[in-house]
Subunit: 303 residues, 2 copies
């Protein structure tokens, strides 16, 4: 991408490229039963920032120093968006968070029923690994593809996102400690961000030291993102967010503002973002500009 475009333009253009690739990655011939593919596409096309896939692409470009890394990285970018989407479908289910709306639209099970929503989630989760395997056809070495499969299964699985969701669901209302909350956020949110950045970096040809620095960058960026989410749920604009605010308060969810206060939470977002960008600097990448720009954008976002 040309460095003269703004961050907002970069994110918008990148999101469109990801959305096109996603539509191609989910075969049109999956027509039996037709409701299953429809349910998958309903949630995949429901929008969102496409932050995770964009981080895969931006990290690959940042390490390689060339935007031709995007072509190799796109199957993995699609994979992480499929994982993110499946997690939203399952999290919204009546047995889990029981949400009726997501991004201003009825949730998957409200439209297609619970059975199809569960299966649409299972289908997206499974297909994510198919998508990763396709990177081998775009010049990514077989060893790197296997490392990415292993990372994805770990960071999206029980030691990562699935474990975080279980800890969140099983936690007692109002009794979560700050350490537990950081654990839940790290697993539920940071781990997919860590996957996105490090998988892109692997495809770009990162050294082990670069992977280590980028893991810290992504972990702190993910936590900052989640704390900002907590803040926006409290004081954000419902129109911009596309969902009702104050839902955490109503559901008696323990959040950063609840535990440490609003001002302290804002300071935490700033501190985490600063530490994230320091780690990013330490990685010594060839073309890190978009990763810096994304970090800054996320800290100041209002939706």
């Amino acid at each position: 991408m040309n460095a003269l475009v703004t961050t907002a333009e970069f994110l918008s253009r990148s999101a469109k490229e990801v959305e096109q690739a996603l539509a191609e990655a989910i075969p049109a011939e999956w027509v039996f039963p037709v409701q299953l593919r429809e349910a998958m596409m309903y949630s995949v096309e429901a929008g969102g920032k496409r932050l995770r896939p964009i981080l895969v692409l931006a990290a690959a470009e940042a390490v390689k120093g060339d935007s031709d890394a995007w072509h190799s990285a796109m199957p993995v970018a699609c994979a992480i968006e499929m994982i993110h989407t499946y997690s939203l479908i399952h999290d919204d289910l009546p047995a889990m968070d029981d949400d009726d709306f997501r991004r201003g639209k009825p949730t998957n099970h409200k439209v297609y029923g619970e059975a199809v929503a569960i299966l649409a989630g299972d289908g997206l989760l499974t297909h994510a690994f198919y998508s990763v395997s396709q990177a081998a056809k775009r010049g990514v070495s077989a060893e790197t593809v296997i490392a990415i499969v292993s990372d994805l299964a770990r960071l999206a699985g029980v030691p990562g996102m699935v474990g975080g969701q279980a800890a969140d669901i099983l936690g007692e209302q109002g009794r979560t400690t700050l350490a537990e909350l950081e654990y839940i956020h790290s697993r539920k949110t940071s781990d997919l961000i860590v996957f996105s950045v490090t998988a892109g970096a692997r495809i770009g040809g990162a050294s082990p030291a670069q992977i280590e620095a980028l893991t810290e960058f992504a972990h702190k960026l993910g936590l900052a993102f989640q704390v900002q989410d907590d803040i926006l749920d409290l004081i954000g604009d419902e129109q911009k967010l596309g969902k009702p605010t104050q839902s955490d308060v109503q559901q008696q969810k323990v959040t950063y503002p609840y535990l440490i206060g609003l001002e302290e939470s804002k300071t935490l977002v700033e501190r985490l973002t600063k530490e994230a960008t320091e780690a990013l600097t330490r990685a010594g990448l060839g073309k890190p500009e978009w990763l810096f720009a994304i970090s800054e954008y996320l800290m100041s976002r209002d939706h």
Copy 2:
């Protein structure tokens, strides 16, 4: 395995080896939240024939002609049992088949609640791909591991098992045709059998022609297995099966005996098994004895 042991002994010993490997493949340090690992292990340890993992191991040995192929094939054997187990947990959910008992024990969600059951399924599905990635550490080439990841995602995903379950759930009671029923059984049951046999064969070093013959073998074996399941639900022994019989009739499920009659269904099992073993002969394997023995055993099983 020594050829002097009986098929029943071979299956029982093999199942024990698989069960030990499965317990090791799901890390003991996954203790937070403790209910999640417990729920996963509850269903993983609930028994069953371990048919799919045993087919992975037997196929690897059959192609390679040496039982040392088991060591390389075990991570993939564990993976397919994790996939099978997750599919049972999700299929039993109230929104799906709404079953209270499985193998004589309360189903996962009856013990751990729906939320944990959904997450235990998601965790097992995700971890299956981690397990496949570990085969690369046991002498399986990186290219073969990627082919297996891709096969598993396809055959367990929307074009395979998940699509079959969706078609089954969405099918109208009493109005399924024979062609639709064969489609559902092929996706729900045969596809995981095809995966098991071909993944093992790939690890054993099979040629493309052998993979093709073994795909036909496994597809027909899987269909025979499913028709036999339909028959046993109608006329089997509840004690031996560990579940109530006549459940298909009560749920007005369309089965082979319903569509073509009991005697015709028995004839079909025999014909499919015969065609399966002919395809197996055509594969020209070095040591196919256990695959032949398993085929014969499945046709005559009473549970």
